[in-house]
């Protein structure tokens, strides 16, 4: 390294290009290399619903944002410090979020008249002065890449396709990222296509060298590792962490993990991940539809497996009748809803948290179920364990909410030791006389888990109302009332940890109360507010049904409670109904996480208002 090194505390980089430009892969690789350096980080992929929308158009733009730092990182960042734009569409779609002064790297070759017209640029922004104020690096990325690959026997098209590796190489150089793991990755990926492998490696190298040798870039940057609690870390997406948590929890419970699923964005990756782990006694069953998926999971739970089903909002709508049966059968079942933009097909690749009321109430009759929600990618591991604990202890369906932001976003996750994992051992009912399938444990109100194959426990159950204790069909009015209230009491009675409130001075007036993936943005806003001298408390709900027992007291303590949600106020509705507290909602439904800035502004409005 010959160029001067500038030390930074944190950087936000956004890679943006065509859907076919490999921006997700580029971002992923840069993230992995960054994680291996010990920075803390957070990512935000953002891509269209089409597999590959038409080249060079605005709807076809795919981007990946990464925030990494020498300290604890809470969000993927409001605005990039560096934007890599592979074509005019990528520039146009992203430039409004780029603050003046930021670095802009573009592929000059793509700024042809035709491409500019496609996205409605009348003049070339690289030349018309409209980008003044940015630190622009207009590089002929395509032609440099093609040039670097002259010696390789591949088509021009294939050569051009490697330009993302050129960009990656350049950024790798600029931020002093290690190259080994990306080289290994490419070798594994293209092992069977030596020419393509060679092309990618050459392009990667060429990008690195471009930074090092040309005068285009004056500095390189270094970001020191973040201080994180001791341990081994792995960069992990929410979907991965969730899947690993399920596997770990199933192992701890001694149960076979049975996933019944039907593919749907953004939940499919959990199916993909779990289907790789048959050796951990995981069975994955891709069903014909969502109803069959949850039905099969319930059937497996009935048989003594840990039945799990994964989906997104539209799938939950379809599963609701079968979940009603699960409520009646009182069997463990985990229903994972990775929320996306709705209603209907909505914005399938974007994030949202508008399924809360659906999972609370979207079933016929009084049909209560547990609802929990993960707050960030790494938290998904722990919440999977919690889902298993609750489902198996109480024999109830547990809705476990994630969303597109958590699912696809990633951050470092501290790999736990097996010895740290909770004991989730499960006891099935044993052979006995006069077995009563609906006799309850007085503490948990759980009924016995009596699986086929156990002599003497033969019994019949179903969705019709059942007599207390015997479980036989009963149309008796009083029994129905009793059973309805008992099923409700069982959920109300589930033990969940108290809500932790972060209020350093103890005398804040305003409480930020969130749930789900708003954790990062809220925490980040709280940091800013506090550094501005404001007193704000923060608390985050991971248990929504039942609520933590101390929630009422917490709400009482703070005169003003703001609840930001990526919906029109669904948690607020539940809080208002239960606690008659005038929650102040801050809502947006844009398919994107909140920015720190808007939450700071919202809070200031409340503080001053």
């Amino acid at each position: 390294m010959t160029k001067p090194v500038v030390a930074l505390k944190s950087v936000v980089i956004r890679f943006a290009g065509d859907s076919g430009d490999g921006m997700q892969l580029t971002g992923d690789r840069f993230t992995m290399d960054t994680a291996s350096l010990g920075n803390d980080l957070s990512t935000l992929p953002n891509f269209p619903a089409e597999i590959r929308a038409p080249q060079g158009t605005l709807p076809g733009v795919s981007s990946f944002q990464l925030h990494f730092a020498d300290h604890h990182v809470l969000t993927a960042g409001d605005a990039p410090d560096v934007l890599v734009a592979m074509n005019p569409a990528a520039l146009k779609a992203n430039i409004k979020e780029l603050p003046k002064g930021a670095m802009l790297i573009v592929d000059k070759d793509e700024f042809t008249t035709r491409n500019l017209q496609k996205v409605g640029y009348e003049t070339n922004p690289l030349e018309d002065g409209s980008l003044d104020g940015y630190s622009i690096h207009a590089i002929p990325l395509t032609s440099l890449t093609v040039g670097a690959l002259a010696e390789v026997e591949i088509s021009k098209k294939d050569a051009e396709r490697s330009k993302n590796m050129f960009a990656l190489g350049l950024l790798t150089w600029m931020y002093h990222r290690p190259t080994e793991s990306t080289i290994k990755f490419l070798e594994a990926k293209f092992g069977k296509k030596p020419d393509i492998l060679k092309a990618n490696l050459l392009a990667y190298n060429a990008g690195w060298n471009y930074g090092e040798t040309t005068e285009d870039f004056a500095n390189t940057y270094e970001i020191a590792p973040a201080k994180m609690p001791a341990g081994k870390y792995k960069n992990i997406s929410g979907n991965q962490a969730l899947a690993h948590g399920l596997i770990a929890g199933a192992q701890q419970s001694g149960l076979q993990l049975f996933l019944g699923s039907y593919p749907i964005t953004p939940a499919s990756d959990i199916l993909h991940e779990l289907s790789k782990h048959k050796k951990f006694n995981v069975i994955t069953f891709q069903a014909e539809d969502e109803i069959a998926a949850v039905g099969a999971a319930l059937g497996a739970s009935y048989g003594g497996a840990l039945g799990v089903t994964t989906t997104s909002g539209p799938g939950i709508a379809l599963k609701s009748e079968m979940i009603g049966l699960a409520v009646m059968l009182e069997l463990p079942l985990i229903i994972i809803d990775v929320q996306r933009g709705g209603p209907s097909t909505g914005l399938p690749t974007k994030t949202e948290q508008a399924d809360l009321l659906q999972v609370m109430f979207g079933r016929n009759g009084e049909c209560p179920a547990v609802v929990i929600a993960a707050s960030q990618p790494s938290d998904c591991f722990a919440m999977s364990l919690e889902a298993i604990r609750i489902a198996t202890t109480y024999r109830v369906p547990v809705f476990y909410l994630s969303d597109g932001y958590i699912a696809n976003g990633s951050e470092p996750w501290k790999i736990p030791n097996v010895s740290e994992l909770p004991d989730l051992k499960v006891e099935f009912a044993r052979t006995q006389e006069n077995f009563l399938p609906y006799d309850r444990d007085p503490k948990t109100l759980a009924r016995p888990w009596a699986i086929p194959g156990t002599k003497g426990l033969e019994h019949r159950i179903g969705g019709i109302e059942k007599a207390d204790k015997t479980g036989a069909i009963s149309y008796e009015p009083k029994n129905h009332d009793f059973m309805v209230r008992t099923r409700q009491a069982k959920i109300d009675n589930v033990e969940v940890p108290d809500l932790h409130v972060d209020d350093p001075t103890g005398d804040a007036n305003v409480l930020f109360l969130g749930w789900g993936s708003t954790f990062g943005p809220i925490a980040s806003a709280v940091e800013v507010l506090r550094s501005n001298g404001e007193k704000v408390a923060q608390a985050h709900l991971k248990y929504i049904n039942p609520f933590p027992k101390n929630l009422g007291d917490v709400l009482n303590k703070y005169p003003k409670v703001i609840t930001p949600e990526m919906n029109l106020g669904q948690l607020a509705l539940l809080l208002r109904a239960k606690y008659l507290k005038d929650i102040i909602s801050y809502n947006q439904v844009r398919g994107l996480p909140f920015s720190t800035a808007e939450l700071v502004e919202a809070a200031m409005g409340v503080i001053n208002g």
């Binding site: 049975f258 069903a287 109803i291 039905g295 059937g299 497996a300 048989g303 086929p452 002599k455 033969e458």
Partner: protein, 310 residues
């Protein structure tokens, strides 16, 4: 294997049977309770899973494990159980509405996956539990509560549908013929893979006499085309013969005995079983009964880890 020989009584639960007097479900239940001991499977390893309908009350009356699930979805619930627990013997009990109307998709997928399930479809050609609407097997023109001027739909032939869905075993029998039904159950449970058994079942309340032609002693011999492996396919009056590109039913006196097709219950091409399935008209003048177990190049579906990881 059960330690002590079990009897019919051992398979009878303490629940009161709640079907209408004269319902065909009674004799199917009784036949099943008599048949189960001979299977030699301990009671606790047998599970009956049903949907919703009169027929779907069946599991309550058997001293085995049982789930009365939701309408149309029994094959899905049962598939999950079968995959997680290949050690169990699982029956699915369903009706013509449950299996073919709301549950059609799960049925055809269970067939193609060849999950180890024995699916018994009680076909009374009507919705019983909801008091008499037409079903997907009701004949065209049928007048019911929901079709006061006659239904317009062509009915499904459940056997043809199963064969269209890659079934590996299909059979048909009649509620009142305990001997025949027992034979069919025997074959179905011996088969490795999923089996669809259609059972004609009389509903005296909402569709009485729907199967008289195959139950009435005066006509049944003539209308039941017996499919017995290695035997000519015929009734007392008719035989099945080839006619260029398809099969036909002809009066015995118009054909030569040697031309009658000899049933090959294990013919590997489902075209053969399908062609037979087309011989039952919706008026039930002729109804092939018996089974076809295609020896297709398929093993039973097995997801369980040990099998996969070997």
């Amino acid at each position: 294997m059960a330690d002590i020989a079990l009897t019919k009584k051992d398979f009878t639960s303490d629940q009161e049977v709640r079907w209408c007097p004269g319902c065909g479900d009674y004799s199917i239940l009784s036949t099943m309770q008599s048949f189960l001991p001979e299977m030699g499977v301990p009671r606790e390893n047998i599970v009956f899973i049903s949907g919703i309908g009169c027929s779907s009350r069946f599991p309550y009356y058997l001293e085995t494990f049982g789930v009365h699930s939701v309408h149309g979805r029994a094959p899905a619930v049962a598939s999950g159980l079968a995959i997680a627990r290949p050690d169990l013997s699982i029956f699915v009990i369903t009706g013509d509405g449950d299996a073919l109307s709301i549950g059609g998709n799960h049925l055809i997928h269970a067939m193609r996956r060849n999950v180890e399930l024995k699916i018994l479809l009680f076909n009374n050609r009507i919705y019983g539990l909801t008091k008499g609407q037409y079903s997907p097997t009701s004949e065209k023109g049928k007048i019911t509560k929901s079709t006061p001027i006659g239904s317009l739909d062509t009915p499904f032939n459940p056997i043809s549908l199963a064969l269209g869905a890659e079934a590996s075993f299909v059979a048909r029998s009649v509620d009142s013929d305990r001997k025949h039904l027992t034979e069919v159950l025997r074959a179905a449970t011996a088969h490795k893979g999923s089996a669809l058994v259609e059972i004609y079942q009389n509903c005296p309340i909402f569709n009485d006499g729907a199967f008289d032609s195959v139950k009435d002693p005066s006509t049944k011999e003539g209308s039941l085309l017996q499919m017995v492996h290695g035997q000519p396919i015929k009734s007392a009056k008719y035989g099945v013969v080839k006619n260029d590109l398809h099969f036909e039913v002809k009066p015995l006196d118009q054909i030569n005995e040697v031309d009658i097709i000899i049933h090959d219950a294990h013919h590997p091409d489902p075209s053969y079983a399908y062609a037979l399935s087309r011989l039952s008209g919706s008026e039930l003048e002729h109804v092939p009964v018996g089974y076809s177990a295609m020896l297709l190049d398929r093993v039973t579906h097995h997801w369980s880890t040990p099998n996969l990881m070997k």
